[in-house]
Symmetry: D2
Subunit: 121 residues, 4 copies
């Protein structure tokens, strides 16, 4: 194995928890879209569903950059952290609804992990 | 240029109209999701929004397979044709709504083009 | 909760193992793309890298259809099973290379799970 | 039509040129991946192919945010502009190769359009 390949594998190991948070947040946001559309009312408002779709997609993109071992992953992690934070707040506001709290929690954990990755030296 | 590279470029030219139909249908379906969520009512029913999201995603995947010059593009074109057809019918049923008719038309054109690609020798 | 929402949740539970296999196969295929590009030679041949990219993308699409609870998920699972099978065979042929065997195994498991989902009543 | 729906459509019209640049850059980058893998040598170096895949994916994500009419599209446009710029420079360095110059040009146009969108009031 070349030094470069070895380095890339080390990097990947550092990234593993953040990749997992992104994939997890992506999955929960898409499942939550289906839940919100079926619930209707405030859950299905255009801005809310759109935000969940945005969050799912940027998590997927951010995970894919890390999985490819891309040099540019800090940029996608930074924007992923920002959007996850906004989505966490929107979901947390639906305070008496366990699936929404579950989604808020996944977004918050992903935001924190991506923020750490974006600021890593 | 090798014979294989030349062949791949010829293939790409044959694929160009189908790639364009897929990208066009993808764009219109995503725009229609936003429109349907804002309209509410039958437009925003879970099954309908989900079908538009499905159609947008399989069009994107199908376009990407052709853009990469993948040997497997006939498989993704076949499933894209089937889903576009179903989405076209669902949108066409909202018969007094021009944006939905516009979406139905884009889905129908994409279905036809993908069907042709899927059956090409 | 409506009967329909309850049904959708039951479906999601049935789908959970297949979603996991798709997400896992997607992740391993993208990581393997990076590995193959760095190794060069036969690993980095256009047809091989392309097949890994195809497999990663159809796994992602197939997972997303299930996560949305889409009625059309059997179609995407069927094409996912076929492409995973082809990718598994291509990776298995690089028989003295543990990362490729690991990728072949993930593809084979995903193919089997998606085949089951595609044929479910 | 509600005021909000009307506003959203006006926004979409403003976004149309940037959406087109993103979709165009995405398509050319993916086609260029296939070209580079077939050419081999410096074209197929891991870092270069990865950058083209990164650029294709962030263009797709950025287009999708605008197509959905997302409030968060400025964030994805900003990171898209940065990555397109880096990809344009990498492709422009292969100065005697027309397909690479063509890709550099598409990346540069997309970077400029996304930069404008990211900074819009």
């Amino acid at each position: 194995m070349t030094e470069r390949a070895r380095q890339s594998m080390l990097n990947s190991e550092n990234m593993q928890p953040c990749i997992q948070e992104c994939l997890n947040c992506h999955s929960i946001c898409l499942t939550t879209v289906a839940y919100c559309l079926q619930k209707g009312g405030a859950h299905a408002e255009a801005a809310h569903v759109r935000l969940l779709l945005d969050c799912a997609e940027i998590c997927q993109t951010s995970a894919n950059f890390m999985l490819r071992g891309s040099d540019q992953h800090r940029r996608t992690c930074a924007v992923c952290a920002a959007i996850c934070e906004i989505c966490a707040e929107a979901c947390a506001r639906m305070s008496d609804d366990p699936p929404m709290q579950n989604c808020a929690e996944a977004c918050r954990r992903c935001a924190e992990s991506c923020r750490g990755m974006a600021m890593a030296a």
